[in-house]
Symmetry: C2
């Protein structure tokens, strides 16, 4: 009952309907979508509606020395939103206001709980474009996207979430409200605190408002598929597309395990005999047909067995939909491989320089064989950012151990190839050790110093990232 | 003679030729190009050649409690590189190695003293493009560009320096070497320390290596000039170009004072009877002619008296050159207005949301009249980022006072219009008070906490920014 006075204070500040302790609800809020990450038992879920209520939550939690874990839609894949024991889970689910869309300044101002697809749709109706499109875009929130610096399929041409964040309102651990950044196209007034909060996974403050940059609507895109007899050849094609000066608006890779999983999940005539499939799109207007033809040539020269263009927008959309189903299809595949709820998926995330992509793909295949675990590979080939997805039998300690070993080997390989341990999913709980290895002792010390400067008592999302 | 033991240590570490105390040389290194900013008397200029020597300089300076001021080419416009009394001026002039250009990863790795134009030329020879193009690009260094997050004319389409910085090597005040960021297209491993150092004006660490992202070479551009009878009409045209979904690769404004100053400096047939001139370019390939025609239509509808397209690349280059001469021409104008070295120029830098550009331009004209000082306006209209340049008689305290008042009024107006006190030149010494006003007490406190976390003894560039 240590929490009771805190709960009373929260109810007084937010009203009883925004302070939730129902055990089922606590359980559904306990973790994000990362497999094999620990999650504690929270005290309460709170749903503040505005900045003032977030301030009240942080002040109350600080008074009682109770940690606060910010949560968006809990679609994260690194455990960053997982509960810690006794924590206040601060959900932004009730902060869903789109405050402004300005077509001249090309900005939008939103509360953090606005769903990515909702914002994207709202600006599209005004002829504008909010590019960041993480796989979770239909359910994940802008606040969560910003807190994890989410990527997606558009990044190869349009960049990640952080490149669209102009300014933030953040409630600090002290309960003070900080405004960072600006509404202008350019600005260099002081340290770039905006980017410090982007990707900080709720460890430095609670984002309560986001000002994002928008672009004019892109032109229609043309799409092709290239089928390869080896994943490494597909990797080589990606490197040559970049070397050739081409900038596709999408360049995704699916390996055979994924092709088969998707086809089993939703039959759509994919070439399940292929070792790898590259999906490319261009949106360069009147140049698009030429650009697509050049990509086709490069793929053929790199060894593609077959290249075909989508004949119309419907076929192109179907191909994109196949790619979007990869995650769900692999979860189904894992569940069917190890029934009774034992089939799990460790969704990894590694990025290497484009030129090292073929080597990464070969290496992952070798690791899968050595560790005797199924690993499917899918991802944003054009960015060198791949998701090796390891299928694990949660009921079998040996399978879990082999999966963890494969995970570590992939991380080791990625760093050895000049890469990073996370291209877009973040560190959370899953990759704290690998972050430390990647950034080294000086990097860790600087991270700790920055964390201590912003959150000296460790109130916010303790144990995550660092 | 307090400095003598330090000088001995520096000479022992770097060799005598890299430790310079010649009074003339100290004097030329005393300040950057900002007018009316104080500069102290330095102890020494050091020119380390590599990271190890930078470490040696910082360790020695820390032992003796002597401040260190990092300097690139001293082309800054806010006094950030100005000496403080007794300081070690750490020049990166001898760190000029381009270590790598990788066309597949689309990155370059350089030492900080590489001149912007040198890098731009080197990557262009490989069919690549390093966009950031500050006015000083022929002399300013990549290290200085990163430390100030420099802008330029390309930003309206291609963004500022920070958007191209993937990773850094930084020597901290402790003498430790920190590596931030990555070589990959995407990466979210830990806090974005790269962006924390970008724009921190030498107050958090000394940049010793920069990894930048490159783009494929842009397509050829087409250029037009629109002549306006009022600056506000030109501002309206800019807002409408944005609202129309157009993205020019350049959209610059020159007012009558600048047109006349440039024409006097180097006659090139500019329309000196115009109140304002908009210079626009598009590099959208086969769409370019259509896009340029639409920009012309928008300008005409917004009240342009005349619009004409450059007939060829030579004429387009001449128009761009006219714009590039604006700074030098205004300095000449100031020198001729107040001879005997008394004519100075306060080069201001303010950015507002594009929709407020017309209001900003009207306001600056009103302020010039009220304060009875000549103010010419030039700048990156497409970003809402203008440079109101105030001509001052340094020998006349009344003129200096009126100029400072005009400067303050412009800053106040910029903030009132939802803008920022600096779009691209930075804070340095010139705008510390305005930074504090813009970011408020919570912002200042967070800045101080970050500074203390990275540089607890205040060794690096003391008194700048904060």
């Amino acid at each position: 009952m240590a929490g009771t006075p805190l709960l009373d204070e929260l109810r007084a500040a937010l009203g009883t309907d925004a302070v939730l302790t129902d055990p089922d609800l606590l359980r559904t809020h306990q973790r994000d979508e990362a497999d094999l990450c620990p999650a504690g038992t929270p005290l309460v879920v709170v749903r503040p509606r505005d900045t003032g209520e977030v301030v009240a939550v942080l002040r109350a939690a600080a008074r009682h020395g109770v940690p606060v874990v910010p949560q968006g839609a809990r679609t994260g894949l690194a455990g960053a939103a997982n509960a810690v024991d006794g924590a206040v889970l601060l959900s932004t689910a009730a902060m869903t206001e789109i405050r402004e869309i300005d077509p001249v300044a090309r900005i939008a101002v939103v509360q953090p709980g606005v769903v990515n697809a909702t914002l994207a749709g709202a600006v599209a109706r005004q002829g504008l474009y909010y590019p960041p499109d993480p796989g979770s875009w239909e359910s994940s929130t802008i606040g969560g996207n910003v807190a994890t610096n989410a990527g997606g399929m558009c990044c190869v041409k349009y960049g990640v979430t952080g490149e669209y964040v102009l300014g933030l309102e953040v409630v600090l651990a002290s309960g003070e409200v900080l405004r960072t950044g600006r509404r202008t196209a350019k600005g260099v007034a002081g340290y770039d605190l905006t980017r410090l909060f982007v990707g900080s996974e709720g460890t430095l403050g609670v984002i309560t408002e986001v000002t994002v940059a928008l672009r004019p609507a892109p032109q229609e895109s043309l799409t092709l598929v290239a089928v390869f007899d080896s994943t490494a050849a597909a990797g080589t094609a990606v490197a040559r597309i970049a070397a050739d000066g081409l900038t596709p608006s999408l360049l995704e890779l699916l390996d055979q395990i994924h092709l088969r999983a998707i086809e089993a999940y939703q039959p759509m005539g994919l070439r399940t005999d292929a070792q790898a499939l590259l999906l490319a799109a261009v949106d360069t207007g009147s140049r698009a047909a030429d650009d697509l033809a050049r990509i086709a040539e490069v793929c053929t020269a790199a060894g593609a067995a077959e290249v075909y263009s989508a004949t119309d927008a419907v076929e192109a959309a179907a191909l994109l939909q196949a790619r979007r189903l990869a995650h769900a299809a692999m979860e189904r595949y894992a569940a069917q491989t190890y029934p009774e709820g034992n089939g799990g998926l460790i969704i990894d995330d590694v990025a290497v320089p484009r030129g090292a992509l073929a080597e990464l793909l070969d290496g992952v295949a070798r690791i899968a064989a050595e560790c005797a675990v199924p690993i499917g590979v899918v991802g944003h080939a054009g960015d060198g950012n791949m998701h090796p997805n390891i299928v694990v039998d949660r009921a079998d300690p040996a399978s879990v151990e082999r999966s963890r070993r494969a995970f570590d080997e992939i991380m080791r390989l990625g760093l050895a190839l000049g890469g990073t341990c996370t291209g877009e999913h973040g560190v959370g709980l899953l990759k704290r050790d690998w972050l430390a290895r990647e950034i080294g002792p000086v990097g860790v010390r600087v991270h700790q110093a920055v964390k201590a400067a912003l959150d000296p008592t460790g109130l916010l999302n303790p144990g995550k990232v660092l």
